[in-house]
Subunit: 151 residues, 2 copies
DNA sequence: GTAGGTGCAAACCTTTTGCAGCATG
DNA sequence: CATGCTGCAAAAGGTTTGCACCTAC
């Protein structure tokens, strides 16, 4: 999907729900959809400020909250109290592996996982609405560095 | 396993690694192992202060960090920036479902899940060391309340 | 005796909020 | 032109840190 297309999906969705489409929101949405990384609120703020230095941190947080509620953006906690966001539009459901050496995030997907979680929820009568799955460990290249590098 | 037994496992482990076994640590460990709930750092502090009002918040955090590193305690982020801890000694590996209505935490366990995660890690050459899996949704009794209660 | 641990208070970091003014629909 | 949104600055909440004193080994 093209960026402009995604942008107007978000715009229409928000307008239909009575939200206003302000310059700030347009900019924040553009930047959030344009990034393929997992970004923090602060990184997104910096990105936006390169275009318009007057965007405030509060507006970025408020807009991220709206986008998260609408399901366009997904927030993942990093395990150290912070959060990173990723855009969801046009992305399949997936989970994350986080390398504790280089902090890089790898995405993976497993359909059977979905089924197991659905079954586990059914067993205890829980209605499964969303999940946060993070595997911590060491990525391939950091394992190599471990073996190759000096002790 | 009896509490005193667990306590001395922790004591021995820490002593062997050159940590000192202080009154504060003994108290904090006793309280942490004695709780079957998922507690916050602050709740643990309160518990400890009932026995010794002079325990400081900093010491609780410092001790929790030591215990987490040693693998006796596991920290789970609650999704709203905070964390809760649980003791791991004598508990099988398990995951959590969090009810977004009543905030209660349900534990579940699924061996096949382990296998799928191991397989997914293998596919991308990742060494899987620990994980954080949290399913958000609505628990059985809050679903009932939803249906039964007024709209 | 000497690391290492503790308590206190202040610093930190990320996120939220109150409020007055602004801009969208 | 009414309401929702924004920017600012301050508050909040959870966690970490600097430092002087204390204590386990």
């Amino acid at each position: 999907m093209k960026p402009e297309q995604e942008q107007s999906i978000v715009e229409n969705h928000l307008r239909q729900r009575g939200f206003r489409w302000t310059n700030q929101r347009a900019l924040i949405v553009r930047m959030a959809l344009g990034t393929h990384d997992h970004f923090t609120a602060d990184e997104l703020l910096d990105l936006c400020r390169r275009t318009d230095p007057r965007v405030s941190r509060a507006t970025v947080y408020r807009t991220l909250a709206v986008l998260e509620q609408a399901g366009f953006v997904d927030g993942l906690d990093t395990g150290d109290g912070g959060r990173r966001f990723e855009h969801v539009l046009g992305h399949a459901q997936h989970d994350h592996m986080v390398c504790r050496v280089c902090d890089r995030i790898f995405e993976f997907r497993d359909d059977e996982l979905e089924r197991r979680l659905a079954a586990a929820a059914r067993r205890i009568g829980f209605r499964n609405e969303r999940r946060s799955l993070r595997v911590h460990g060491t990525c391939r290249s950091c394992q190599k560095a471990e073996r190759g590098g000096r002790p």
